[in-house]
């Protein structure tokens, strides 16, 4: 079995916003590759949306709407003077232009959420052993997302993890000694499992590897506290 499901809880956590950035990236990327995962993520957000309409309303203070309309009026007046501003961000494009074209082509075919981050990281591949390169995409609260690029026939050294590691194949395929993982397949390695993924002959394999921090569900309970200045929220 090469396609491992993440379980029901992950989708409600996804919709709620409680997942770490790297875990959310994993699901977004999986959703881009797998219509079933897309549907599960969408359904979870649908459920949250319907739950929102079912909330007992908490009235805003009188005048709240007037204040909002006042802001809109101010904005409309400013837009009349200055005209609509062009908010296009060329930064990623500029960084992308610096990349060697060969390396760029490889990144451009990746699914959207990963592609944007990889371009943002300016394709900054780091040597990680013969035929193996790694690009860090995101790090947050002990959770980490990185791209792993394996030349055909090469593999990452045998390793185990402090935390659960999720590996999603974006292109090519690898074999970890137990099973073959192709594009869109997800491998879930528990902390105590040692594994050694090796890319199949013939094609470069690029995978998204996410290690979740010690807190799988960071939870929103501490979010106000964190917002108000780094008191321990979790």
């Amino acid at each position: 079995m090469t396609h491992q499901s993440l379980g029901d809880e992950i989708f409600s956590a996804y919709a709620s916003g409680a997942l770490s950035g790297p875990m959310r990236l994993l699901l977004d990327t999986q959703a881009a590759l797998d219509p079933q995962v897309f549907e599960l993520c969408s359904d979870a957000e649908r459920i949250a949306g319907v739950l929102l309409t079912a909330m007992a309303p908490a009235p805003l203070r009188p005048g709240a709407m007037d204040d909002l309309f006042a802001i809109l009026d101010t904005e409309a007046a400013a837009a009349g003077e200055a005209g609509p501003s062009q908010m296009v961000n060329h930064d990623s494009a500029r960084k992308a232009a610096k990349l060697a074209s060969q390396s760029l082509d490889e990144l451009l075919v990746l699914p959207e959420p990963v592609r944007d981050l990889a371009l943002e990281a300016a394709g900054n591949w780091q040597f990680a052993g013969p035929g193996v390169r790694i690009m860090e995409l995101m790090r947050e609260d002990g959770a980490k997302a990185e791209l792993i690029r394996l030349e055909p026939g090469h593999g990452v050294p045998r390793h185990s993890h402090d935390c659960k590691e999720f590996t999603l194949v974006l292109c090519g395929a690898f074999h970890d000694g137990l099973a073959r993982y192709g594009k869109g397949d997800l491998s879930v390695a528990d902390p105590d499992i040692e594994h050694k993924p090796v890319a199949e002959a013939g094609e470069v394999c690029i995978a998204l590897a996410v290690t979740d921090g010690p807190l799988a569900f960071t939870g929103p309970l501490g979010w106000v506290q964190r917002a108000l200045g780094g008191m321990t929220g979790s």
Partner: protein, 193 residues
């Protein structure tokens, strides 16, 4: 407030809410006011539930509605209903606030986070049909199951965290949630979807 009646208690159907966002995209302020009256107090209620104090909940609810006005032109009812779309905005805002210290992982003004896969043309109405079914299924759920769903979908708690919070055995939480999901799934998997 003088120009608009506040009627937060009026139940709104999906069609109506979707149409209101589309009208808002055409800069229709009366439509936006109706949308505000329905959603702002519910968004505030959602934020209060997540431990925001009254002033913060009010401020974020205002920000959420401002984003609704600014991004209304991006709304597409074939992809998500107004309620799902506005929920995403509210959720992203609160994540943004929680993570403001570090680099924000989400664009708080970008409600359509989930990249859309290529959807076949005959599935254009698919999203709205699914939405109606979720609504129908949730309507029939007992309050007890609804509150479990809120803990999972608003608070993002895992099953064992829910069990701990409610001082219930894990098995009880799992079986109650399974009841709720089975019911949802029965609606979602029905016939022509």
């Amino acid at each position: 407030m003088a120009d608009f009646k506040i009627r937060t208690d009026v139940p709104q159907g999906r069609e109506t809410l979707d149409a209101l966002v589309e009208e808002t995209a055409r800069q229709n302020r009366a439509a936006f006011a109706t949308l505000f009256n329905f959603f702002a107090p519910r968004v505030k209620s959602y934020l209060l539930r997540l431990n925001a104090d009254d002033a913060l909940a009010e401020e974020i609810a205002q920000e959420v509605m401002l984003t609704v006005w600014r991004k209304a032109h991006q709304f597409d009812r074939t992809q998500a209903s107004a309620s799902t779309w506005i929920f995403r905005i509210a959720r992203n805002k609160r994540i943004d606030i929680a993570r403001r210290a570090s680099k924000p992982a989400l664009d708080p003004d970008e409600p359509s986070l989930l990249p859309e896969p290529e959807i076949a043309p005959d599935e254009a109405t698919h999203a709205s049909a699914r939405d109606l079914r979720v609504q129908a299924a949730l309507k029939g759920l007992p309050a007890e199951q609804l509150s479990l769903l809120q803990l999972a979908f608003f608070d993002g708690l895992s099953h064992s965290e829910i069990a701990e919070r409610l001082a219930l055995p894990l098995g009880t939480v799992k079986s109650r949630l399974r009841l709720a999901f089975d019911k949802l799934r029965k609606h979602l998997d029905a016939d022509d979807l």
